[in-house]
Symmetry: C2
Subunit: 318 residues, 2 copies
């Protein structure tokens, strides 16, 4: 079997990692996707973190070396015995045996902290919503699903800010796609604009035919990076056309077009966002392309050469 394709979805707590990946997983088929949460690699349980006054965002609070080993094993198609961090009570359980399926999605806080980690991913997505929006999302989630009070969540956010700045946000320079959902003309969750930084490590589909000043896409070019802007209130028909064009370039994967992209929930309510759908189809494009390249005997779809040796991980100096 060809090696699995590894997608990284990295970003701060409540940056939207699970929302972004959920649609992709449904489309690729649960049975073809292995899901790994890097939180499982915490070094300290909740009690120890409190005693040591360390946040889970700090590399010292995580087994970075074991992450490097395990992610490299997964990329080579080998199973790992993954540790288990239990969010419900903040302790560790017995590890579980995880076999990488065709696609493996790794979500986490520090996935791109070292070069060796970066080398494990075929596609590196970083989620960078504006801090105001992320705080709002974190309060929403942690109060409704993890049983905290608003004050507790806000206090925790403040406590974590130095580590967010030092360790989490600097990782975006190593991503292939930096996705920032943000309030635009309409501020409701279903109509957030999406700004997507497209880095040159991957060959992105050409979306310039869809650029227009009339509520369509815009593209700006800087050294090493193109920036794509998807208005939150883009006409759904226009959005569908763009999706269609991207699907056309992954004609070999047309059998995947069954589920609808762009769906998300707030509480138990189902919504749909055009900009989320477009971000997802772009990521899917890179996953399908990498899978096809590997299936044909290629190394993957990255344009740069892989660093050698992967193990000589240069620490990210923020």
């Amino acid at each position: 079997m060809p090696r699995p394709i590894i997608l990284g979805v990295v970003g701060d707590s409540a940056a939207g990692k699970t929302t972004l990946t959920r649609g992709l997983v449904r489309l690729l088929g649960e049975e073809h996707v292995t899901h790994v949460a890097a939180d499982d690699y915490h070094r300290y349980d909740r009690k120890q973190r409190a005693e040591r006054q360390i946040t889970p965002l700090h590399p010292d609070c995580n087994y970075m070396d074991i992450m490097e080993q395990d992610f490299a094993h997964l990329r080579e198609g080998r199973a790992v015995l993954k540790p288990v961090y239990q969010h419900k009570d903040g302790t560790f359980g017995a590890p579980v045996y995880v076999q990488p399926k065709q696609f493996t999605v790794i979500e986490g806080l520090l996935g791109y902290h070292t070069e060796a980690l970066c080398d494990c991913f075929d596609v590196r997505v970083f989620l960078a919503p504006p801090e105001d929006l992320r705080r709002q999302w974190k309060v929403q989630r942690d109060c409704s699903r993890r049983g905290y009070s608003t004050d507790q969540v806000l206090e925790e956010l403040d406590r974590r800010e130095p580590d967010s700045e030092a360790f989490i946000r600097p990782q975006q320079r190593r991503a292939d796609l930096v996705v920032s959902f943000q309030p635009g003309d309409r501020s409701d969750q279903a109509h957030l604009d999406a700004k997507i930084g497209l880095r040159e490590g991957l060959t992105h589909p050409d979306l310039s035919p869809f650029v227009d000043d009339n509520g369509g896409l815009s593209l700006t070019e800087r050294k090493h990076e193109r920036s794509l802007w998807i208005p939150g209130d883009i006409d759904p028909a226009r959005g569908a056309e763009i999706e269609e064009a991207i699907w056309d370039r992954m004609h070999f994967a047309s059998h995947l077009r069954s589920e609808r992209l762009g769906e998300f929930t707030v509480g138990t309510e189902l919504h749909r966002s055009e900009s989320l759908a477009l971000a997802q189809v772009l990521i899917l494009y890179h996953l399908a392309t990498a899978r096809a390249a590997v299936a044909l005997g290629g190394e993957g779809s990255r344009t740069e050469h892989r660093r050698v040796p992967a193990a000589a991980a240069e620490q990210l100096s923020s």
Copy 2:
């Protein structure tokens, strides 16, 4: 830091693994030795094994692939997150972070089951006491320390015999030293004879000057293997002379000569065995030699070339 030296001590349950290694660990210094029990890599807990009617001796009952990964990491000096099997209640606990020290001793049932596992060890010892003696040892230990009845232990031994034959005993052909303690002229535990098969993967010290028909060593030669016989009632002065000669060949390690080798306990009573001491000093010789070779930039002290690639593990067909 040069990579750690890895000693394998493999053999069936109650074959004397811990007794053999304890003296070595004391001599090398606890602070320089990492100890790994391969039992931690069981796939099923005690309840699951009973349901599945599988013994812990069967490769399917163990994460052989994870063992290969972890042991290879340890050999390269990398830490691993080791699973934890709890003998007291037969369940798994949270894993522990293990860093390999200068010497790493891996004890277990299936350590030489694949080529990839074998490649991890600098020195491979296999313990092969006669079955009668091993049964006696197992009853002794499991009744006194693990709370089983004699009948339970004997029944378990019978149940395990097919797997012992199929998977455990065949591994001895991959060992460098096959150590068999056995009753000789005197049958008490302190005066067991030791028969040691010396395989050509390592260069063993020349003990022929100590061969004599008058209660000293004997050596027999077969293709690929010399067999050393140490009588259990060897004159302690003669034993000390032989030890001295081996120490002389590891003059660079003379600072280690503080603890006494050959000690063992039955219950809480301390005994000493001359043949155990000689077996231990022989193993120590190989550990010290490997350490010295690696410290000087060598690969290790094996005479054969390492198989490439280590990962292409040929299954041991028994």
